[in-house]
Symmetry: C2
Subunit: 409 residues, 2 copies
Amino acid sequence: MPFALLLEAPEAPLDLPLAMLLVFGSAKLLGELFERLRQPAIVGEILAGVLIGPGVLGWMQPHEFLVALAELGVMFLLFRVGLEVKSSELLKVGGSATLVAVLGVAIPFFLGWGILQLWGEPQLESIFTGAAMVATSVGITAQVLASKGLLSLEASKVILAAAVIDDILGLLILALVSSLARGGVNVVELASTAVVAIGFTAVVVKWGTRTMKRVVPRVQKRMISGESQFALAMILLFALSYMAAHSGVAAIIGAFLAGMALADTVSHRVHDLAHGVTELLVPFFLVGIGLHLDVSAFSNWSTVAMAAVIFLAAVVSKFVGCGLGAYRMGWRNASRVGVGMIPRGEVGMVVAQIGLSMGVVLPHVYAVVVFMSVATTIAAPPLLRIAYRGAAEEEADATAAAEEDFRLG
Amino acid sequence: MPFALLLEAPEAPLDLPLAMLLVFGSAKLLGELFERLRQPAIVGEILAGVLIGPGVLGWMQPHEFLVALAELGVMFLLFRVGLEVKSSELLKVGGSATLVAVLGVAIPFFLGWGILQLWGEPQLESIFTGAAMVATSVGITAQVLASKGLLSLEASKVILAAAVIDDILGLLILALVSSLARGGVNVVELASTAVVAIGFTAVVVKWGTRTMKRVVPRVQKRMISGESQFALAMILLFALSYMAAHSGVAAIIGAFLAGMALADTVSHRVHDLAHGVTELLVPFFLVGIGLHLDVSAFSNWSTVAMAAVIFLAAVVSKFVGCGLGAYRMGWRNASRVGVGMIPRGEVGMVVAQIGLSMGVVLPHVYAVVVFMSVATTIAAPPLLRIAYRGAAEEEADATAAAEEDFRLG
């Protein structure tokens, strides 16, 4: 097999063009196939990862380079989404978003914990599974909404704002359960983690746009290199991703905040250039999610049953929790928010991975959590389609209203 | 040639946003500084790599991910250059280009070998040094010419065509010296290597454009996914890079051929999206070259002297060899071609690395070859500037003539 050269062990040298061809090509092929079947392309791209991954064909392993490209891909994805969102609009929906995030964290956590307790699993493992069910992977929803041009709807903004808060809550829960696993909870440390993460996010949301409006034109006027605005945008993207990661929030939240800070400032040219990078790299993010699913782990019926129950619980608990948080926006919007927060993607896997490496999560529960993460991610796009039915006209109305506001303001 | 051989495999986990920020940010900063000093930005970007690399500040090591991003960057760079070149134009200058490539390979090889022999170094080491002085890294010249819009001049086309032939000759010389080092030359193997490499290149140059003119519109009509032309272009880019690498030529030559095959077909949109990726990744290629220079290796005067002599020999031998090959085009064009072929970049380093890993190249000679590779790469952009002085007007004339041709044809 010509693919023998490829990534059999993590130490094997990478055949770069082959890896790029396999990941990008299979993603586009299955994406096209799914569009023809009137299914979301994004689901096809994730399944391409399952297909070429260790579970089925075994052509590809999760290699360090591919993992890094996937991370870069989701950073660019959220940067691009941020470019289309104004921070003032996000702050406006802050109240609803907080309620959505809190309920959408609490209900999945207790449900996940409760199910594993009923199953007779150990306490710490149950807690880790609950924690893995908490975090929303906003990348998937953002990609679906951005590709359909639905980001300016109110429900979409609530989803994005809630995802940022959800990420901070997820960080705190992960810090809490990790210290529980280590044997003791340091309240001061936990509180300082919270303060740094919330502080960083709040400062960038509040002052980022204003600062960039002043800084970008000034710097650009003085720079003589070509594509200087793009260079500036990239530097802000990487700098805020770095600061976010070191404040405890995810790097992709920093990328989103960087995009948002630049939303009012940068030219269409920067959008186009960043879009090129996103188009190239997003398949690596999607295929990367699929690559982690190893179907061979489901060899006994008890594990299969647990996977099915946890998957259903993950879908229902986020839908109910987040929907409940958004109930004041009406049934239609609440259902959109509920569905939009379902995908767990890479975030749930990271929590399970930490539990596995600490020895408090057993391999079969790890496989269940990975399945839950991938399956919720695959389930979300078709559900989003249903929930957002008829939204294109609302979007047109919303844009018209925004333009009206702009003219009047 | 596998760029991945440059991999030093440090085990430290990668802080992705920080690595991106350091490499991209330092490149843009020093690029801007050099433009202000009226020097080529590209030189600043390479020096940024020397600065943050192990030799000076030590902030950054040549990490596997960065090496792969660099390879991807130079693939996209040559793809973009290919998009602006028609294969028919390249075939037209084939005769001159062959002479340029052959003389530009023979003279540096014998000069490099001769100098090391006079220095009293062993025979095999002298041969490897000669081989490392053979290969031109066309990426640097292509970047300079593309950024100044000078690709359509005749000298530029000769440089690109000669670089393709040079790469094949370099491959054969490397195969020859490697088998010499192993103790015996297999003529049949060498001949079949030559046939495969030349055959692949000839087929793509001759029939690539024609095939794509038929395939792209047809496939695009049937595909329903968004940005389908970009997806197709990327798949061709990775597929031809893969096939090139496995035919023995460099992956970047495949990338160049892919761009050329699509030059007549793809829309401006594909150019823009690919340009975004190039803008992001080219700094990684340039900084990556600089990262490999370890100035601390030059601790004794004999090594410093050898480095200076080898550097001068590398510049003079390519300039004279390639210039001589292009003498029929007049002094001005011959000097452009001669200067354009000077940079050795990553290619020279790969040859030295193979010699090092086979135990036939000693560390001090390895350091000398790396210095020669980096220094010729830094020397080329300012020399190109001088050689191409006044070329902007010729370019305008050439474009006008081409448009005239087009209208008449």
